[in-house]
């Protein structure tokens, strides 16, 4: 059902709230002097949280309603996208909280960080609800351009500048390739509207379908770059390392989830309908890409000295696992991805939160800094242990259930070899996640003095973040029902 502009606006409230929030924050930021502490700063954060909360509430209300196409069918509002947006809003709120604590972001750019995260979030929301290729492109660019700025937020740091430059160069090239691919697709199919693609694909002759193949490949370059899938992942370790830690945290949640979710929509749009040779080839390509992504991410993570860099590589491998849910091209895969995204959000937030604190406390985030943390700060260490085991996929934690769902989706299509590769990869990942646990619990620190400065509010937040990691491992029925109900609107 298509709606007129005025009616459309009422269904676009969550995004509009965020736009207003962003504008309001810019006003607050410019109305006060830089470096002013206290009320002005507090207003920034509370304003941001308020905006995110309102947006979240509206998204929640929209969950489960009939799918709609708004703004002359250029944007689709369906439960699949809405749930993904909710996850991203939560991720942004977490990133903003971490950004306030972290010393890695200079005091004078803290408000910029907040504004930029909300900007990226808007881009991500646009991307996951895009209903034609142009808007898809605009979404991915909004997401990217603001990300380039965020990567180089540490202005005086060479590596941060390098990260920003690398990110933008890579981003520019891949965006160009993607646009080129899109123009080819338009040339063959005669439409840019996602909802018209399934019938258009069905009407193609075999030769025409084959011509589409390179175009898809180019299209894939753009998305693959965004989710850091091998072989388009080269930028990610350097960018993740160079960026300030809260930015890295944000990058490994919001743009990644937005990219994956958009990828699911696109793949289902193009290949959901037919079982032709094009689909087969595409699936094989994705299989190879995802197997490589998982393996490269994991193997590279083993040798890292910095925990942040290890988490960056491991997020590559998690993207590979989520791609398994993409390549099955069905509802089971989409459900598994949404579930995975929720658990991944909490695990990543908690892991980065603790790493950030350790980095601020000791000056760097090398593995040795975690030595004997169990004695120095039991709560923090227990949360970290839970999160690490969950990331590795051990029951009864939510990471296991997420992995189980993905494996189930893969095995349901009888891709046994791929399932075994994914399974073996989680053994590899256990090795380096366990390293953190081992250092915290088994090693003795240089000094036994308890860690101070992890204030009460932080302890509460970290517990609240860790609870879903524990609880979703046992009581996951509700979430799987919600994720299963979030269907993709295709035509």
């Amino acid at each position: 059902m298509a709606l007129n502009y005025l009616a459309s606006i009422s269904h676009y409230v969550p995004e509009l709230i965020l736009c207003l929030t962003m504008a309001g924050l810019i006003l607050i930021e410019s109305a006060y002097d830089r470096g002013v502490k206290g009320s002005a700063k507090g207003m920034m954060y509370w304003g941001a949280y308020l905006g995110l909360l309102c947006s979240f509430v509206y998204l929640f209300k929209a969950l489960g309603t009939e799918p709609l196409q708004i703004f002359t069918r250029s944007i689709v509002i369906d439960s699949f996208g809405t749930l993904a947006k909710m996850i991203m809003v939560l991720g942004t709120a977490g990133a903003i909280f971490l950004g306030r604590q972290s010393l890695d972001i200079y005091e004078e750019v803290k408000s910029e960080f907040v504004i930029l995260t909300i900007g990226v979030l808007i881009g991500g929301m646009l991307l996951v609800s895009a209903n034609n290729m142009l808007l898809f492109y605009i979404g991915i660019e909004t997401l990217s351009i603001l990300s380039y700025v965020m990567a180089s937020l540490k202005k005086n740091d060479e590596r941060s500048s390098e990260a920003g430059l690398k990110y933008s160069l890579y981003g520019g090239v891949t965006a160009g390739l993607m646009l080129f691919g899109m123009s080819h697709i338009f040339g063959v199919l005669g439409t840019i509207q996602f909802t018209e693609i399934i019938p258009a694909m069905a009407a193609l002759t075999k030769a025409q379908a084959l011509v589409l193949m390179p175009a898809f490949l180019l299209f894939f370059v753009g998305i693959g770059y965004k989710i850091a899938c091998v072989p388009f992942h080269m930028w990610s370790p350097d960018v993740y390392e160079g960026s300030p830690l809260p930015v890295t945290n944000f990058f490994s949640i919001v743009p990644k989830i937005a990219g994956i979710v958009a990828f699911v929509r696109v793949t289902n749009t193009f290949f959901g309908g037919d079982a032709s040779i094009v689909r087969e080839t595409w699936v094989v390509l994705l299989m190879i890409a995802s197997a490589l992504t998982m393996t490269v991410g994991n193997v590279a993570a083993i040798g890292q000295r910095s925990v942040k860099r290890m988490l960056a590589y491991s997020s590559i491998s998690h993207a590979g696992v989520m791609m398994l849910g993409v390549l099955v091209i069905d509802d089971l895969g989409a459900r598994a991805i949404l579930f995975y995204a929720v658990t991944y959000l909490f695990m990543t937030l908690a892991a980065f939160f603790i790493t950030s604190f350790v980095q601020d406390h000791y000056g760097n985030d090398h593995f040795e800094r975690f030595n004997g943390l169990m004695k120095k700060h039991p709560l923090m260490s227990i949360v970290m242990v839970i999160v690490m085991f969950s990331l590795a996929g051990l029951p009864p934690l939510s990471g296991f259930v997420a992995k189980f769902n993905i494996l189930a989706a893969v095995v349901s299509k009888k891709y046994y070899v791929l399932a075994v590769i994914a399974a073996l990869n989680s053994v590899v990942s256990l090795y380096y996640y366990m390293k953190v646990v081992r250092l915290m619990v088994f090693k003795d620190a240089e000094s036994d003095e308890p860690v101070k400065g992890f204030i009460f509010s932080n302890q509460v937040v970290i517990t609240v973040i860790a609870l879903p990691v524990l609880l979703l491992g046992v009581f996951w029925e509700k979430l799987i029902v919600i994720a299963g109900g979030a269907k993709i609107f295709l035509q």
């Binding site: 051990l394 095995v411 009888k414 046994y416 256990l430 366990m434 081992r438 619990v441 799987i480 299963g484």
Partner: protein, 510 residues
């Protein structure tokens, strides 16, 4: 089909109540923590005794009156499904007994007492979970969760090289179980995601004999492929050669109580997996691979015995003797005859008691000597003439040693004899060769005994004190068990007969 009694749940969750209790007690009140844990295991033991009373020995298969089944995740048809039969009951009894003894033997643990007892009780609950779960998903969850307390128990309270041992143990077993996970999910989809897709009991019976699976265009038999996946998972736990290399490290580095649990219960989970999952679900493939299993079992017997003979560290010697003895269990399983299977299950129980004794005794000695060398690396004797110094200790040691050697009149003999009876008709060559393993077993144990207990009393040993009352107290039940079940194994055999018979007759049809 929900249960009439929640007895199994009580047994399963009682140790968790214990964990919560230990967490509430302040860390400085160490004695209180110990007493509370002990009390908890006593209650658990009492509950398992009730379970034994309620158990109807004439029934093959699961005891309906004790079964509990509640929906857990409806979307995937996963159930909280607990049940017992004659194969799992001896293991549950053994678990309850050994944990009680381990709490007593851990009285001397000084480091982080609170965490130690909490983890130990948590481990007990997960072990019960493995032996009770009849839902494959639930089984898998318990199977994996068990690794977490083990990892910490070895890694924090272990010997010098504990970290390496803990990591190796963790990675190895995780590798095995993750293959099992793929197999489990595959079964779920092959059976059509129905209500019984994770139900171990409903999956069994050879439904997948003619199912095929396509990998890279090759059409392969489903049963054989996934039997191998499950086999690797269970074989690592047993451990079957060549997957045994984690075991000596884990055993040597683990603290005494954990070695006892590891050898006494955890290794049995591997063979229990064969009996409960791999054999019943894929009977055709089991029969197909029976020869291979038997040969691997034989390698375990001989190779384990030779390795044991070469050890200078007495704990490592016993660890390798476990490899050898678990080989007998594998032989009994591979026979797939009534005597062989019964012998295997009996051996699982008997090895649990006798090896537990050996490890406990080594732990007792270690507390006095702080080393375990039979011969030190520099060639001097580590122990000598213990027999004259520690008479009580020596008597208990002799009982344990002869039980583990399989001397007639003690428990090991019955089970090994049954296994040999069972396999002779099927694998004559293997039987003959396995008897050599028995001989080797006698050789390394007696040789070890001679070097440690006879001969000159070396200076160091003169200061050792004999076993104290607590140590005698916790060794007594095990001594009674090996002697009583050596003379009169009927209670155990009656318990398992019907269930084992059911499995054997299933396998006989393929």
């Amino acid at each position: 089909m929900s249960g009439h009694s929640n007895l199994l749940s009580w047994i399963l969750w009682m140790p968790i109540i214990g964990v919560l209790g230990t967490l509430l007690i302040p860390r400085t009140k160490e004695t209180m923590i110990r007493v509370w844990s002990l009390l908890n295991t006593v209650i658990t033991m009492a509950l398992t005794a009730v379970l034994y009373m309620k158990f109807d020995q004439t029934l093959p298969g699961m005891q309906q009156a004790l079964t509990e089944k509640y929906a857990w995740i409806k979307q995937f048809n996963i159930f909280y499904h607990l049940a017992v039969d004659g194969i799992s009951l001896p293991m549950i009894l053994l678990t309850a007994l050994l944990f009680f003894i381990c709490i007593l033997s851990s009285w001397t643990v000084k480091k982080q007492v609170k965490a130690y007892f909490a983890l130990l009780l948590f481990l007990q609950s997960t072990v019960f979970g493995v032996f009770m779960a009849m839902d494959f998903f639930l089984f898998y969850v318990y199977w994996e969760v068990m690794l977490i307390p083990m990892f910490f128990l070895i890694g924090i309270w272990g010997g010098e090289n504990r970290e390496y041992a803990a990591v190796k143990f963790f990675l190895y077993t995780f590798f095995g179980s993750i293959l099992m996970l793929v197999g489990m999910v595959a079964l779920y989809f092959v059976t059509g995601q129905g209500v019984d897709s994770f139900n171990i009991l409903a999956l069994s019976g050879g439904k997948f004999t003619n199912t095929t699976v396509e990998i890279f265009g090759m059409v392969l038999p489903f049963a054989k492929i996934f039997f191998v996946a499950l086999f690797i998972g269970f074989a690592i736990k047993v451990p079957v050669f060549p997957f045994h290399t984690w075991l000596p490290h884990a055993h040597v580095q683990a603290p005494t109580a954990i070695s006892v649990i590891l050898a006494g219960v955890l290794l049995k989970m591997g063979t229990y997996g064969f009996l409960r999952i791999a054999f019943p679900i894929f009977p055709s493939a089991s029969v197909y691979f029976a020869d291979a299993i038997a040969w691997l079992g034989l390698i375990n017997v001989i190779y384990g015995a030779f390795c044991a003979m070469a050890q200078n560290d007495v704990k490592k010697l016993v660890a390798y003797s476990s490899v050898s003895h678990m080989g007998f269990v594998m032989l009994g399983l591979a026979a797939m005859t009534v005597q062989g299977m019964n012998g295997a299950v009996l051996q699982m129980f008997n090895h649990g008691t006798s090896t537990a004794m050996m490890f406990l005794l080594i732990g007792i000695l270690y507390e006095r000597s702080h080393h375990r060398w039979i011969v030190r690396p520099d060639g001097t004797k580590g122990f000598g003439g213990l027999y004259t110094q520690l008479p009580k200790y020596s008597i208990v040691f002799i009982i344990a040693m002869f039980a583990s050697m399989g001397l007639p009149g003690l428990s090991g003999f019955i089970s090994e004899a049954l296994i040999f009876l069972g396999i002779y008709s099927k694998f004559t060559t293997i039987t003959v060769l396995a008897v050599i393993g028995l001989l080797l077993g006698a050789a390394y144990l007696l040789w070890m005994f001679k070097r440690m207990f006879f001969g000159e009393v070396i200076e160091e040993c003169k200061s050792y004190t004999d076993m104290n009352a607590r140590e005698i107290f916790y060794m007594t039940p095990l001594c009674i068990a090996v002697i009583v079940f050596g003379v009169y194994p009927a209670p155990l055999l009656n318990m398992m007969k019907a269930s084992v018979g059911k499995l054997v007759s299933l396998l006989a049809t393929f």
